[in-house]
Symmetry: C2
Subunit: 554 residues, 2 copies
C-alpha cells in the first residue's frame, strides 16, 4: 500500500496569545515557515526582556525547511528571526519594507549574510512541492501580505494580520479579487487573524485619522507633539502631511521612529517635501505654530521619548504651556496604567492632551467582525483555523465561522504545538510537537526558568535576609558572626532590635544543635530558616527569603 500523503499545519506560536507568531506548513518531508515573531513578557516574568517561541521542532527538521515567508514587519512576526537565523540558514521571502526593517534589525545582531528574497504582492514562487502566492492586505504597517500556499492536497490561505481599508493612505485596498479567485477555485483551509473578533462592525479607514490630524493641527495655536507607533508609516505620513498643510516643520524624536523614517524615506515609502524635516534643536527654536514633533512613547514605555518629556526628563524637548499632545494609539492591554500616568503628567506640565478613543486619532490595523465574515465568505474554505489571538478570541472567531456555515468539526481551535493534519480523507488533530516559551534576559536565551522567576518573585515581595557565620570545624563553635544583611525587607535603622533578637535566636539554635550533635549544614540551615522565618513573620507579617550561609575554618 503506498504511503498516504499528508499536509500538516503546526502552529508554534500565536495561538492563545497575541504575540510570537510562528506557523509550520508541512507536506510529507518538505516544509515552510510562516513568520517568526516575539512577544513581550507577562507581568510575572520578572526581569525578562522578550519571549520567543521554542523552535526546537524547526532545528530537528532543519534539513527539510525550504524557506521562511514573512507577512509583515511587526515585532510579533519578525522578532524571533535574529535568534532563529543564528541557528538556521534558510532563505527569507518578504516584501521590500518588511525586508528593510528586518535587515536593520539583523544588523544589530551582526547577521548580515542572510538569503533575502524580495517579493511583491501577486508574485508566485515555487519552493519544493509548494507554490506560494503573496496577496496584498491592509494593516497598520505598509507592504503587508497574506499567503496562498498551494499544496498537492489543496490550498492553504493565511491572511496574516489584516484589515480591509477601502481608502488606504497609500497603495490599494486588500486584494479582494485574489481572495475571491482562490475561494472560487476552492480552498482547503483558511487561517485568519482573530485580534479584533470581539469588535462588531467594520474597522475604520486609516485615512479618517488623517482628517482628524488636519483639524487638530489647524486648531492648535502652538506646538503639536504627536506620538504613535514607530512602524505605523501611514500614520507618520499623515502627520507629516498635516504639518505641511499647516506650515509646520517636523522633527522626529525617539530612536525607533528615527530608524523607521530613515528606512522608509530611503525606500520611498514616505512623501516628505524638501525642507520639512528639521533637527529637534532647530524645532525648539521655532515659533510654536510652526512646529510639530513626531515621537515614540504612545504606550507609556518607561524609557521612551514621550514618557521622558512627561517627567520633564527629556534631553532636548521640554513640554510648554500651550503644547498640544496627540496620542495616536490606543493602549495595548497591560499598558493602560502607564499610558494614563503619562497623560496625567503631560497635563500637569501644562499640555493639552488629546487621547480619548472617541477623538478619532487612532484606528486599529485589524479586521473587525464584518471584515472577518467577508474574508471567510470570500475564501469559502473547507477547514478553518482561527489564529493570532487569545483563547477567547479564537473561540469567538470559531463561532463566527460556524454562523457562516462552516461545520463545527471542520473548525480547529488549536494550541501551540498541535499538529493539524490533512489527508485526502479529511482532517484531524494528529499529536503534538514541542512548543513553548523561551525567555530572553540580557544575553541569556532560555537560561532563566521557573526557579529563577520564583526567586525573583519572592525577592520582589519581601526582600532577602542573609545570615552569615563562620564555624570552627573541629568544635562547631561560632568564630565569626552571626551577621545579618537584609535588602528589600525592612528599613534597617528602624529595625535594629528585631535584627539583634534574630541573631540571638540563631546563636541559641546553633547551641542547641551542638548539644544534640547536629553538624550537617543542611540541617543547621533548615533550623535557622525555620526559627527566623517564624520570628520575622510574627514581627512583620512578611516572608523574606532567608539565606543562611555558613563558612568553616580549621
Amino acid at each position: 500500500m503506498p504511503k498516504e500523503h499528508k499536509v500538516q499545519i503546526i502552529p508554534l506560536g500565536g495561538l492563545g496569545e497575541i504575540g510570537k507568531n510562528m506557523t509550520v506548513i508541512r507536506y510529507d518531508n518538505q516544509m515552510l515557515l510562516v513568520d517568526a515573531g516575539l512577544s513581550f513578557p507577562e507581568d510575572e516574568m520578572l526581569g525578562i526582556d522578550i519571549v520567543i517561541p521554542d523552535y526546537s521542532y524547526l532545528l530537528e527538521n532543519k534539513d527539510i525547511l525550504l524557506g521562511i515567508l514573512v507577512t509583515h514587519g511587526h515585532e510579533d512576526h519578525i522578532g524571533c528571526l535574529p535568534y532563529l537565523l543564528k541557528d538556521l540558514d534558510v532563505p527569507i521571502f518578504a516584501t521590500r519594507l518588511t525586508l528593510g526593517i528586518l535587515q536593520s534589525k539583523l544588523k544589530e545582531s551582526n547577521l548580515s549574510n542572510i538569503k533575502a528574497n524580495v517579493i511583491h504582492p501577486r508574485d508566485v514562487i515555487k519552493l519544493g512541492v509548494f507554490r506560494v502566492e503573496f496577496i496584498r492586505v491592509n494593516h497598520s504597517i505598509p507592504d503587508a501580505v497574506g499567503l496562498a500556499i498551494h499544496t498537492p492536497l489543496g490550498c492553504i490561505v493565511h491572511t496574516g494580520d489584516f484589515k480591509l481599508d477601502h481608502t488606504p493612505v497609500s497603495g490599494a485596498p486588500l486584494d479582494v479579487h485574489k481572495f475571491a479567485e482562490l475561494g472560487e477555485k476552492g480552498v482547503l483551509c483558511l487561517m485568519s487573524d482573530s485580534t479584533n473578533v470581539e469588535r462588531a462592525g467594520f474597522t475604520k479607514s486609516e485615512s479618517l485619522v488623517g482628517e482628524m490630524f488636519d483639524n487638530a493641527f489647524r486648531e492648535a495655536q502652538d506646538r503639536i507633539i504627536l506620538a504613535t507607533f514607530a512602524s505605523n508609516v501611514h500614520r507618520i505620513q499623515q502627520a507629516i502631511s498635516a504639518a505641511v498643510k499647516t506650515n509646520r516643520k517636523v522633527a522626529v524624536v525617539g530612536r525607533s521612529m528615527v530608524n523607521v523614517v530613515a528606512i522608509t524615506s530611503e525606500l520611498g515609502d514616505l512623501d516628505i517635501p524638501e525642507g520639512t524635516l528639521v533637527d529637534v534643536d532647530e524645532i525648539v527654536n521655532l515659533p510654536g505654530n510652526q512646529a510639530c514633533i513626531l515621537t515614540t512613547g504612545s504606550q507609556g514605555e518607561p524609557m521612551s521619548a514621550l514618557t521622558r518629556m512627561s517627567t520633564n526628563d527629556h534631553r532636548r524637548v521640554e513640554i510648554q504651556l500651550g503644547d498640544t499632545v496627540i496620542i495616536s494609539a490606543s493602549p495595548i492591554p497591560g499598558n493602560e496604567k502607564s499610558v494614563s500616568r503619562t497623560i496625567d503628567r503631560l497635563f500637569k506640565q501644562g499640555a493639552h492632551v488629546i487621547y480619548e478613543s472617541v477623538s478619532g486619532m487612532h484606528v486599529s490595523g485589524h479586521a473587525s467582525q464584518e471584515e472577518l465574515k467577508l474574508m471567510i465568505n470570500m475564501v469559502r474554505p473547507k477547514y478553518f483555523i482561527p489564529v493570532h489571538g487569545e483563547y477567547r478570541m479564537l473561540i469567538k472567531h470559531a463561532e463566527l465561522a460556524e454562523q457562516l456555515g462552516i461545520s463545527r468539526q471542520n473548525i480547529f481551535v488549536a494550541k501551540n504545538g498541535d499538529i493539524i493534519e490533512f489527508t485526502r480523507h479529511g482532517a484531524a488533530l494528529a499529536g503534538k510537537v514541542t512548543a513553548g516559551k523561551i525567555m530572553i534576559d540580557g544575553l541569556g536565551v532560555g537560561d532563566v526558568g521557573n526557579i529563577v522567576l520564583r526567586d525573583r518573585k519572592q525577592l520582589s515581595q519581601d526582600g532577602i535576609l542573609i545570615i552569615v557565620m563562620t564555624l570552627k570545624r573541629s568544635t562547631g563553635e561560632i568564630v565569626a558572626g552571626p551577621d545579618i544583611v537584609t535588602r528589600g525587607f525592612v528599613y534597617v535603622r528602624e529595625s535594629e532590635s528585631m535584627l539583634d533578637d534574630a541573631k540571638e535566636k540563631v546563636c541559641l539554635t546553633m547551641a542547641r544543635c551542638r548539644e544534640n550533635r547536629i553538624t550537617e549544614w543542611a540541617v543547621l540551615k533548615s533550623q535557622i530558616r525555620d526559627v527566623l522565618g517564624k520570628h520575622f513573620y510574627e514581627k512583620t507579617r512578611r516572608r523574606p527569603m532567608i539565606l543562611p550561609i555558613i563558612q568553616e575554618i580549621e
Copy 2:
C-alpha cells in the same frame, strides 16, 4: 482689628488618583473629616499590601477634630479607618450599612469601642459650628450619601461617589430636591465625583442589569456562575432575584461576599426567599439548571474564588462543560490582563463566558458627563473643586464646570495637601499641609520606603549575588571562601564556570588589595562589586545586586 474667619478645604487624599479619599473641612479652630480611605499599590510598589494617606495633619490637630463623616462603605472611603481610629478617638457618622461594613472591618483589627452614630438621609446634625445634612445619592453600594456642610461662611456640598439612577433597585433616586433646594439657597463650594467625567451621556440604571440577568439565567441550560464586587448589594440582589425566577438555588462563594451577604441579610438589605440560599456542597449536587453560584473574583484577583475555579484550583467548585460564567463588572484600570487571562482559562475549562461590556451585565456606579452637569447646575456653587479622580479627570471636570458658567478663577484643580481657603472676600490657595502615601506591608505601617522599594525592584529584575569570605585579621588572608550564592540571577547548574571565574577574580582583587595594603572593608567591598559587576554584565548583560560579605577571625 478682629481676626477674619476662614473656611478651609484640605484634601489629604483622592486628588490626582482614584483611591484613599480623605478631606478636611475646617472653620477657624474646628474641623471635620470626610471619609478615610485606602488605595491599592501601584505596580512599582513591590510587596506593598495597601496604601493609606499620610494623616499627620489630623494627628497634629486632633484636639479640634469634631467628627468623621463617612459617605459610603467602599474601601477607598473607609479603608484607612482601622489605622486612623487606633490613633484618634473621634465620633463616626455614617448610614446603617456603611457602619455595618465598617464595624465588621474594625472587629478584625480589634477595634470595637468606637463612637459610632447611625445617620439617615435628610438627617441634620450639629457638630460645633457646623451643621451637616446627609443627602441620599445612588451608587454601586446601597446607603450612600452626599453631604451639605453648613459653615458660617456658607454651605459646602460634597457629592460623595454618586450617579443618578431613576430606577434604582431599592430605595429612591438621588435626592434631587435637596440638591436643588441647596442650590436655590446658595452654595459656597461644590466638591463633585470626577471618576466618569471622560464618559459622555448618562450612566445606565442598575435595574437594566437585572433584565440582562433574567435573560441570561433563562437561556442557560446549565449552571450559572456569576462574579461581581462583594459590596455591590443591588447587583447581588438582582442575581438572587433572577435565580429565584428561574428556579435556581444560590450558593455564595468567596470570603468577602459571604461576609457582605451575612451583614446585609441581617440588616434587611437583601430580600432572599426562604430556602434559596444553600451551601456550596449542596449546590454542586443539584441539576445544573437549578444551580447558581455567586462569587468574587471579577477582577481576576489571584487568590479569589473565580480565579481559582479558572485554574481548576478551587476546593469545592469545579468548572464543567456547559457552565455559563457571567462577569458582572468591568476591569478596574490595571486589572485588564488578569481579567482576560481568567476569561481565557474559563473558556478552556469548557465554560461559556459572558464578559463583554456590550453584554449589559455591568453598569458603572459613577455619574457620566450629563449627570455631572446636572449636579453642577442644580447646586449652582460659587466655587467648584473636582475631586475623586486622576489629574486628567479633574482637568476635564473643571472644563465641564467652566462650560456651565463657573468662572475659571473660581475652580480649583487642587493637589493632595493644598489648603483652599475661603473668607468673606473670596477664595484662594493658601499653602500646603503634609500629605502623601503611607505604604503598608504586613504589620509595617510606613516602614517600607524608597530604599527598600528600590532594592526590591533591582532584586526582581536580575536577582542577587552574594559573595562571602572570612579573613584572618592579622594578615588579611582569606581563610574561608570566597563562596558565591545567587538567587534569581541565573540557573546555577548551567553557570558553574562563570561563577568559578568570578571567584578567581575576587581572589585576584583581594590579593591586589593586600599588596597595596588596602584593608578597609568598604574599599574591598566596593572593588569586589566593581570587578564582579563588570564580569557578569559582560557575560549576561544583567545587573544583579552584588553583595560582598566579609567576616573576620583572629
